[in-house]
Amino acid sequence: MTWFHRLLRIDLTRQTAEVEDIPAEVTAAFVGGKGLGSYYLYREIAPQVDPLGPQNKVFLAPGALSGTLTPASSRYEAVTKSPLTGIYLDSNSGGHFGQELKLTGHDLVVLEGQSSRPVTVVIRDKDVQFHDASQLWGCSVYDTESTLRQALGDRCFRVASIGPAGERLVKFACVSNDYSRQLGRGGLGAVLGSKRVKAIAVRGTRALAVADPDAFMAAVSRALARIFENEWVPHKREHGTIGSLDSMHTLGITPVANFTQSVFKSIERIDATVFGSLVEARLACSNCPMACSKGTRWRSGGAGDGIEGPEYETAALFGPNCLVDDPQAIIQANLICNTAGMDTISAGTLVGMVLGAADEGLISWAELELSPSMSRGDMVVSLLHRIVHREGIGDILAEGARIAGETLGFPELVPQVKGLEFPAYDPRVSPGMALAYMTSDRGACHLRTYPFGRETSGVLPWFSLDQKAEFVKRQQDEKAAQECLGVCQFPYGIGLLTNDLPTLLSAASGQDWTRERLCAVGERIWNLSRAFNTQVGIDRQADYLPQRFSEIPMPDGMGAGHALSRAEQDRLLDRYYQLRGWDQQGFPTQETWRRLALLALLGQMPISN
């Protein structure tokens, strides 16, 4: 079976661990990964808890196919209440931690309570130990991982850790595993920091027998063949996501100067050719035939200073969005975030916003303790260091862009939805991405659905509102299902484009899984996260873009003249809510709750309509 049906509950306050059964009806309804984490979050966390208090919990869940040979089955999920947004958060990461975690014999690990001292949680199969981490407190992510693996005396241990940013409760601190893979968004690193968990080290030596080995291996071969037939794959194998920077910029969606423009005059200094020439290694997550990750090194930084990346988002946000055209400065910014443990997307958008505010004269360079004569790259680096250490203005910026914008007096500039900073797509240039940002369960996100590819390829009408709600809703459901399986979207495409994933799950589990059944799981998760969010004040008002994106048209590039008016956003939301079975406020209706079997699984909807 592809599940162990075991939950490991770790009480950090008492430093004890217990194992509980996960009932078969729960895996049938929520499968694994995002689904399992969301189900237990909903059951166990009172929505009003302080995200950085002992009552918040972290649910770590590998996917249903993690631990098998399924291509690209590397990803594990973390679900919690976010300290950055105050709402539902899930985040997932690749590398090799997820596979190792699954093979400890657990489908879900729950971290609860709060340790009184810095601690490393060491999970070796059934055995759980709490090691004093006082000596590691203050160490970078890279040093923490190397030191722990050596101290534990087993090179097969996989480590997820926080850096100094998480320790100082920077609200967009991440959790990093395998050095350079991250549970990036939403501040999970601060949640672990508040619990004084410096690291989680896992070693899983269990074996996993699938239900029908012959059918499973045949499905693996078919999936691999299809991945290598996918015309999108060779480009990502060769160039990684940063290979898209030139085309995204040409299409006018890459943000420039704090999401005010889309033409960056010196784009050729940081294009795919430039970064391609810096690549030193191709790196893959567990069982991935694509290896999209490209290793580079900060050339001024000595032998230890490698990164996986920069990825498209990082390069676009620290590059054009901060008006930086020096590839080494972008790599350095990435490396600072990696070692300190900070999300490069939130950091890039935040720093871009602050520099944009200074460019517009809304804050003085002196207040930022920057000199206008500095290079833009040096400005970015200086601000990042101060955020990590919460020094001076860094203490305000460490609260995230929404609070920083409000505190510093330019709330209208902040590119965010529900408190999560925009990724590197200007929503004015894509009504589909706009709706993706508006409706994402954790705030502005490009990973819940990605309509832009279909808009520019002509499958969806680009600047039209037509079919966007339908596409976004369907792909959100499919993508959530994909995130229950622990597989990466890149080799397979986003969602359930073929029967490969349901076939693999069927062969692994001995159950009958179809795309429709998995899609229903995804829909169930979207209603669960929305029901959680409605209890912390999320309603229709929280689903709009910031005003400037509806009122100020894009001045240049392929999207010139476009914005998304409030009326247009209303049209998108009305249709989206209708498709979801939500009311005009964006609350799931009792009927929808019942239809998805949530009434039977979890009882009454918390907010009645």
Partner: protein, 126 residues
């Protein structure tokens, strides 16, 4: 000697080889059952370990029960004779310990990893 060679310049560290190795021998997944290992050395580099069936065969010399022997140009393992003392894995880091069965795991040149590697980084050499 005939043996598996892993080109760490081509290797991306996906470790499909470990999974397919476990499956080929055990009909189950789990890299702890694999007869080869790819370790992460640092952010950008790997180290791969697999038996080279070397002529010195320190493991054979160390084995007190005759479970590891040389046959033609390779080292072979007889589980029936193994007493689980673990001397072989102390002697050589290209054999791995099966903590379930208390026996060493040694490459038997089955070629599963060679066939599975998406980067063609693994080959069999003389």
């Amino acid at each position: 000697m005939t043996h598996i060679e892993i080109d760490t310049d081509r290797c991306t560290g996906c470790r499909s080889c470990e999974q397919v190795c476990a499956f080929a021998h055990e009909n189950m997944f789990g890299p702890a059952r694999a007869r080869l290992r790819v370790y992460r050395r640092d952010v950008l580099t790997f180290e791969a370990k697999v038996c080279t069936h070397c002529i010195q065969a320190y493991c054979v010399a160390a084995c007190p029960s005759g479970a590891l022997v040389r046959q033609e140009d390779r080292t072979v393992f007889d589980a029936e004779l193994c007493t689980g003392c673990g001397t072989c894995v102390e002697e050589c880091d290209r054999l791995f310990w099966d903590a379930e069965r208390l026996q060493p795991l040694i490459c038997d040149l089955c070629m599963s990893c060679v066939n599975q590697c998406p980067e063609q980084a693994i080959k069999i050499v003389q």
